[in-house]
């Protein structure tokens, strides 16, 4: 029988009262206050309410100003708040090219990423492309058309310009369009249409950093005035002369991507390219070379001729005039390597001297590289400027033979060696029109300013290489009263179709005919490729002998290298604070350019770092600060283009000095410059790395080996030092208080996120740094704060030089003070460093308020709102990757960058909080991307695919050196790479068990 329990005696006795109330939840009715017929509110109550009301009203009046967030009244069909839209587009500013995807949130472009479909740059981009999105929100842009300095409207401008152009045309006056290189077929057509309307029109292309020497050399040797396209990925041996093809040369993100493929090593791929670099300046490319020789500027041509002769003797060809250099040993080594890899080798040169380039063409021809690693038939369009054409224009301007000049996306007053002369020549032109994004150095001398759209507001197309197309579509309506230049030209020419979108579409319909692709497809993909069947061109050696003689001609004196800096390029983005704060990969300095000299040369001159020197090239001289830079050839000075802007905008004005002034004859390599020390005050540099050598710590921090050793043993130089304990020698993780992966408590049931970084294909270009800045709303802190070692970057690329005193070169002896001094020609290593997401994180245990805990997916997390700012975590971080908000970096006039104005703030990623003052921040492994990816997978009822989720840094890397993934997914690329014998942890003895692995760097020496 079932047992029954009674609740009380009432139930046992079945009391009638109990039965009546049994089913009511409440035994008694809830008390209700009886109305006792008194007035509801007494006088006292009234006064109380009054007092409360007044207090509440006054408190309400003290409320912070209301910020309005207005929802869509009519929601656009394609926009879901919180869900990003991506649009395929193209970045080309006359200098850098990338086919990109633009990420927009609620109609605002917030990030650009490489377009995986692109055969040029793939998913990778360089730092400048990453930073270009901030240019859209630059308040320094021109916001209205202007006539003679006065704001006006487009109608007035168009009427006046059309009338004046007609006037010039009717007088048979010359009309000149000066632009940077244009790779857009539709723009070129628009210019052709314009020229058809005004027949005396000539279009001159002008590259601020000139590659005219190469174009002319190809004219001489192949009858084709163009830059060839390169295939570094097919090269087994690369020899580069003063050529920074990874960082800056022509299409660097493309070349870096190709080059990286030859540097990858794994169980399947056992070979890597061998790379020789001969250069006077230490470039990013040179720092990645297997062999690097210091080639003085004065011997540059001679070295090329000597190399030609060495190859010629192997090939049985006629030698050029004899030439001797100080690097003959290196040249013969390079010649042997090239000859062994003939047909799969590549010689490139960064000189703008046509003689040099002719000899280079000769070498490549002898090696049979045309058709394999170099394609001149399917040329590159990225540089088209010819120096002579520019000189001719200047002559015409000075002679007063130009009736109207349109300066389109070009800034000659800033970038010509004699810019001031150009400015005064402009005064002799009746009609000067500037189509520019800002009131720059040239625009201020023009009558009509017709502000151009930002590329993210524009329609455009591009043909970077023959037959390779990409499109550009607006991702936002123009923020200001601007209009794209092509449309202006069409309007002034009175074209039947003036809407550039329609114009371009019509153009593309012709182009796409027969391809089976529609305009919509093209816009969606962003890229289009036409199979090209250009016949190979025949090499003509007629110019070779003379070029050889000219190149080998003896030069003397101090050499000057004017190079392109990875941050600033040609200076067109000089007002971009992300780029200004981007540390140069080599010098690790921000917010500056400088005269770099070797320590030997500095001692000869009697100058010290920070001294101001004056360098005179031809009739121009320039004053600038001195930086002592290891790796420079002696008797050499190097300075970067792109600085010293006077009309760039708030952030960029007055930063550095304008090295274009020294580029006499558009040359980047100049011999016989004069140097004098001036007595001005010393200069303060802002570097984010103040110590430059590894102090013999390679074994724990940055491991490297040689290809030969690695082929023998794939774990070469990758052993973990054991710790001596009472039980004998043990690995660090065996001496452990805590739970490890193999023990309970280390519970990562779902995912274990991590990154593997291949140090062999990380070249230090730093596009990850800017990508991270854009993705994670990293603030810009300015030069002063960088000088106080307070940069905020979540990822940095540590650069170390080898030292002559390194213990491995001195039988293990350690002389610490000497180990601080880099070698004269150091080996350079790069190491991206970000939060290591340690599974045994030193930072996590020390936080008093548990603001930095560990997630069940292996992430070291930061709860900003919980942080009280003791900074103990950063002290205890052996990798020093945490960043503290020393100030309020937004809405603060002390930091007047993009986060101090409402336009600039539009670039902020709404998925990432803007950190307040007094809290710690650091790499989150792009947790917002992980969450978005997981959510997408969950919606589709599946696990996230490998490669579907990428951190911003991994996404931006042109070399795919950073691989992100889930270690629990054994099929993932990251999980496989982490098991590779080359993988290691930084500082293994601390047993922090990071989720970031590095792979040993291998040198092919």
């Amino acid at each position: 029988m079932e047992k029954r329990y009674w609740k009380g005696l009432e139930e046992l006795q079945n009391d009638p009262e109990f039965i009546k109330l049994r089913d009511n939840e409440f035994y008694e009715l809830l008390p209700v206050k009886e109305n006792d017929h008194k007035p509801e509110t007494s006088r006292r109550d009234f006064l109380k309410y009054l007092g409360f009301g007044v207090a509440a009203a006054s408190l309400a009046a003290c409320e912070a100003p209301v910020k309005k967030a207005i929802p869509y009244l009519v929601k656009p069909e394609e926009i879901t708040p919180g869900v990003p839209n991506y649009y395929a587009s193209t970045f080309f500013d006359g200098h850098d090219y990338a086919s990109v995807l633009v990420k927009t949130r609620e109609g605002r472009p917030i990030k650009v990423e490489g377009n995986e479909l692109s055969s040029i740059n793939g998913s990778g981009t360089n730092a400048r492309t990453q930073a270009s999105v901030l240019g859209l929100y630059d308040t320094g842009r021109l916001q209205h058309p202007k006539v003679n300095g006065k704001e006006t409207d487009w109608k007035a401008v168009d009427n006046e310009i059309t009338a004046k152009l007609n006037d010039v045309a009717s007088k048979q006056g010359n009309i000149r369009i000066l632009s940077s290189t244009i790779i857009s077929p539709s723009t070129k057509k628009a210019i052709t249409d314009f020229a058809a309307r005004f027949p005396n029109t000539k279009h001159i292309q002008y590259d601020a950093i000139s590659y005219s020497g190469m174009i002319k050399a190809n004219q001489l040797t192949f009858d084709k005035a163009a830059i060839p396209s390169y295939r570094f990925d097919k090269a087994d041996c690369i020899v580069a002369f003063e050529c920074d093809f990874i960082g800056n040369w022509i299409s660097s993100s493309q070349y870096a991507r190709q080059y990286a493929q030859t540097r990858k090593l794994n169980a399947q791929k056992k070979n890597m390219s061998r790379h020789f670099q001969f250069e006077a300046n230490l470039s990013l490319t040179g720092s990645n070379a297997d062999f690097r020789y210091k080639l003085p500027v004065t011997e540059h041509g001679a070295a090329l001729v000597a190399l030609y002769n060495l190859i010629a003797s192997k090939a049985g060809a006629t030698a050029l005039t004899s030439a001797s250099t100080s690097v003959s040993e290196g040249l013969s080594k390079a010649a042997d390597a090239l000859w062994n890899a003939r047909g799969k080798s590549l010689v490139v040169c960064g000189s703008n001297d046509v003689n040099h380039q002719v000899v280079v063409n000769g070498i490549n021809q002898l090696l049979g590289n045309y058709g394999s690693t170099i394609d001149i038939a399917n040329h590159s369009n990225l540089r088209q400027g010819i120096d002579e054409a520019v000189n001719e224009l200047i002559a015409e301007l000075n002679a007063g033979n130009v009736g109207a000049l349109i300066v389109y996306n070009s800034n000659p007053v800033y970038s010509l060696p004699d810019g001031e002369a150009f400015a005064s020549a402009l005064k002799k032109v009746n009609l000067t029109i500037s189509i520019s994004d800002r009131e720059d150095e040239t625009s201020v001398h023009c009558q009509y300013l017709c502000p151009d759209n930002h590329y993210l507001e524009s329609w455009n197309d591009a043909e970077p290489e023959a037959g390779v197309y990409s499109t550009c579509q607006p991702a936002i309506r123009p923020l200001y009263n601007t209009r794209q230049g092509q449309q202006s030209l069409l309007i002034w020419a009175g074209a039947p179709v003036t809407d550039f979108h329609e114009y371009m579409k019509a153009n593309w319909n012709t182009l796409l005919a027969g391809s089976g692709k529609s305009w919509q497809n093209i816009l969606q993909d962003g890229v289009f490729k036409k199979t090209n069947t250009a016949a190979p061109l025949v090499f003509k050696d007629s110019a070779l002998a003379e070029a050889g003689n000219n190149a080998a001609a003896k030069k003397s004196g101090t050499g000057l290298v004017i190079y392109e800096m990875t941050a600033m390029g040609n200076g067109s983005q000089a007002n971009n604070p992300w780029l200004l704060e981007f540390p140069d990969p080599i010098s690790r300095l921000t917010w500056d350019n400088y005269f770099a000299v070797s320590i030997t040369y500095a001692n000869t001159l009697g100058i010290k770092q920070g001294n101001i020197i004056e360098v005179k090239a031809g009739n121009k001289s320039l004053k600038g600060p001195v930086l002592i830079q290891p790796g420079l050839a002696d008797n050499t000075i190097a300075i970067a283009y792109g600085f010293g802007r006077t009309h760039a905008g708030k952030a960029g004005n007055g930063i550095g000095v304008n090295a274009y002034r020294l580029a006499n004859g558009f040359q980047h390599l100049i011999s016989g410059v004069e140097v004098s020390k001036t007595i001005e005050d010393d200069h303060q540099f802002a570097g984010i790395q103040t110590h430059h050598t590894l102090m013999g710590r390679n074994r724990d921090i940055l491991k490297e080996t040689t290809l030969a050793a690695w082929t023998q043993d794939s774990a070469s130089n990758n052993t973990v030092e054991k710790i001596t304990t009472y039980k004998g020698k043990q690995l660090p993780h065996e001496v452990d208080l805590w739970a490890t992966e193999k023990q309970p408590g280390f519970d990562k049931p779902n995912h274990l996120w991590g990154m593997v970084i291949d140090l062999n294909s990380c070249f230090g270009c730093g596009s990850c740094v800017v990508a991270c800045t854009a993705e994670n709303n990293v603030p810009v802190v300015g030069k002063d704060e960088i000088r106080r070692s307070r940069e905020m970057h979540w990822i940095r690329i540590d650069r170390y030089y080898s030292s002559d005193a390194d213990p491995d070169k001195n039988e293990g002896k350690k002389d610490y003070s000497k180990m601080e001094i880099p070698s004269d020609n150091p080996q350079v290593v790069f190491q991206p460093m970000m939060c290591q997401h340690c599974n045994h994180a030193p930072c996590e245990t020390v936080c008093p308020v548990a603001a930095t805990p560990h997630s069940s997916e292996g992430l070291n997390m930061m709860a900003y709102n919980r942080c009280v700012g003791t900074r103990y975590c950063e002290n205890n971080c052996p990798y020093k990757v945490r960043r503290f908000n020393w100030f309020k970096y937004f809405d603060n006039d002390q930091f007047d960058y993009n986060m101090n104005n409402s336009t600039g703030k539009m670039v902020l990623n709404p998925d990432v909080i803007v950190r307040s003052r007094g809290v710690m921040e650091k790499c989150s492994l792009c947790v917002q991307r992980i969450q978005a990816g997981k959510l997408q997978a969950k919606k589709e009822g599946r696990r996230p695919h490998d490669g579907e989720i990428k951190t911003a840094c991994a996404q931006a890397c042109p070399a795919d050196a950073i691989v992100f993934g889930d270690y629990l997914n054994k099929e993932s690329e990251a999980a496989k790479m982490k098991e590779d014998p080359r993988s290691y942890h930084v500082l293994p003895a601390l047993n922090t068990q990071p989720n970031i692995y590095y792979q040993v760097k291998v040198r092919n020496v």
Partner: protein
């Protein structure tokens, strides 16, 4: 009042044949009389410093920690240096009152009151640095495990900073109670002598109704003993816990097991040095040379000599262990201390902390007021540098050479340090004016009226 007979070999603890009444008169004089010129000068300077402290801290809290010189690598510098320095200074008081009480060292009675006061004010200064070094001082209460409405948020008991919160707050509260307990009979004495209504009113409140019955005294003695028992482990634990801020970390130069005893010895060392500095001035200004005698100074100098030697041995041990460990980073950290960019800080520390106290082997110097004062200042400076060396030189060059930086303070940090001296001296000077600076009731227990008379008699007999 137990007047006791003592050995002829022992030196008298109070000079000048004081009668019990005379002691009361002497010690109450600063409270009942007017402040002299020196006091006013000192108080004005201290108040100005305190005002400066308010300005500098206000500026820091209002603008951000960026106004300091700390950076991405050296996240702690003068702030925590000063914190540890002040906590260390706060060590002598409790040691004197608690440990010396348990060891029946009667000479402590002349100095324990002011040493304890120093402890209280030094710990306040130390705590001010904890709060002001925070990025968000307005949430400074978060490291305290308070029940809250933030969800399941709780403090991280693994963090040495939480241990610090407990250690410092316990130390402060126990020291305060101990100090106040000792003050009660003396407040009562002042109350009973009060000639003005105001004084009577305040000291009545302060003296908690003490009437001086035998039961009062019995309880007083018992409570003192119990508090001494509680305080004794605290003397050792506080600085051990503070040292664990460093010892439990992974930073070379911090991560050493020697830290707890080494820090405790250093704290006592610096605490006594500060007591010397203060008492040498106080005894002069308040005319208390007969209570705080050369004998007291000598005794404290001996403690300084011992603890200074312990500290010196600790420094050498660190070097030995760095070499013996074979750990690259540890070795570099110590070589860098001695020969790196901050060598001057290291050698200042070595000179002040290891060499100067060794001078106290000389009895002449131990008994010289001037030498003691100078050396105590040296020790104060040396102990400040010790913390600076440990914190800044360890941090500025740790594991990855890419992050190695230099640190230099800004005027704000220097200002807060100078200001904290004001934060210390303003209450200390007020203490000398309003509180009996010597525990007079207890001191009366060692007045040697009878024994010195006996001695005189004895001398008479022998002759």
């Amino acid at each position: 009042m137990g007047h006791f007979k003592e050995s002829d070999l022992r030196l008298p603890l109070i000079l000048g044949d004081k009668s019990v009444h005379q002691i009361t008169e002497d010690i109450c004089r600063p409270i009942e009389g007017k402040a002299n010129k020196w006091w006013w000068i000192a108080f004005s300077i201290a108040s100005a410093a305190l005002l400066w402290w308010i300005i500098c801290v206000g500026y820091t809290v209002g603008t951000g920690l960026g106004v300091w010189g700390v950076n991405k690598t050296v996240d702690w510098a003068w702030d925590i240096t000063n914190f540890v320095w002040w906590v260390g200074i706060g060590h002598a008081g409790t040691l004197i009152s608690a440990i010396l009480l348990l060891f029946r060292q009667k000479w402590r009675l002349s100095i324990n009151r002011s040493a304890e006061a120093m402890t209280i004010f030094a710990v306040i200064c130390a705590a001010s640095f904890i709060v002001s070094h925070m990025g968000r001082p307005w949430v400074a209460y978060w490291p305290i495990p308070l029940p809250n409405q933030f969800g399941s948020l709780w403090v991280n008991f693994n963090s040495p900073l939480v241990w610090d919160v407990f250690a410092i707050s316990t130390y402060f509260s126990v020291s305060l109670v101990f100090w106040y307990t000792g003050l009660i009979p003396d407040f009562a004495a002042v109350r009973d002598r009060a000639k003005t209504k105001v004084r009577k009113f305040w000291y009545t409140i302060l003296s908690f109704g003490w009437v001086g019955t035998a039961k009062n005294w019995q309880r007083f003695e018992e409570v003192s003993l119990v508090l001494a028992g509680i305080s004794t482990p605290l003397v050792l634990s506080v600085h051990s816990v503070v040292s664990m801020d460093f010892a439990t970390s992974v930073i070379p130069g911090w991560h050493t097991t020697i830290f707890p005893p080494y820090f405790v010895a250093g704290a006592i060392f610096s605490g006594f040095a500060m007591v010397q500095t203060l008492l040498i001035i106080t005894r002069k200004v308040l005319n208390m040379e007969e209570y705080i005698t050369i004998y007291h100074i000598d005794m404290m100098n001996r403690i300084i000599l011992i603890t200074g030697s312990i500290v010196g041995v600790a420094y050498l041990t660190e070097f030995f262990i760095a070499w013996y460990s074979g750990v690259e980073y540890e070795q570099y950290a110590f070589i860098n201390r001695a020969t790196g960019p901050y060598w001057w800080a290291y050698w200042s520390m070595m000179t002040c902390n290891v060499i100067t106290p060794q001078l106290f082997w000389s009895k002449r110097l131990r008994e010289s007021v001037f030498a003691t004062f100078v050396i105590s200042i040296f020790v104060n400076i040396g102990m400040w540098f010790e913390r600076f060396v440990i914190i800044v030189t360890s941090l500025h060059r740790d594991y990855l050479p890419s992050s190695w930086v230099m640190y230099s303070p800004t005027w704000v940090e220097i200002g807060i340090f100078i200001g904290s001296l004001g934060l210390f001296f303003v209450p200390f000077l007020l203490f000398t004016r309003f509180f009996p600076v010597i525990a007079m009731s207890e001191l009366k227990t060692i007045v040697k009226t009878s024994s010195s008379q006996a001695k005189k008699k004895g001398a008479h007999h022998e002759s």
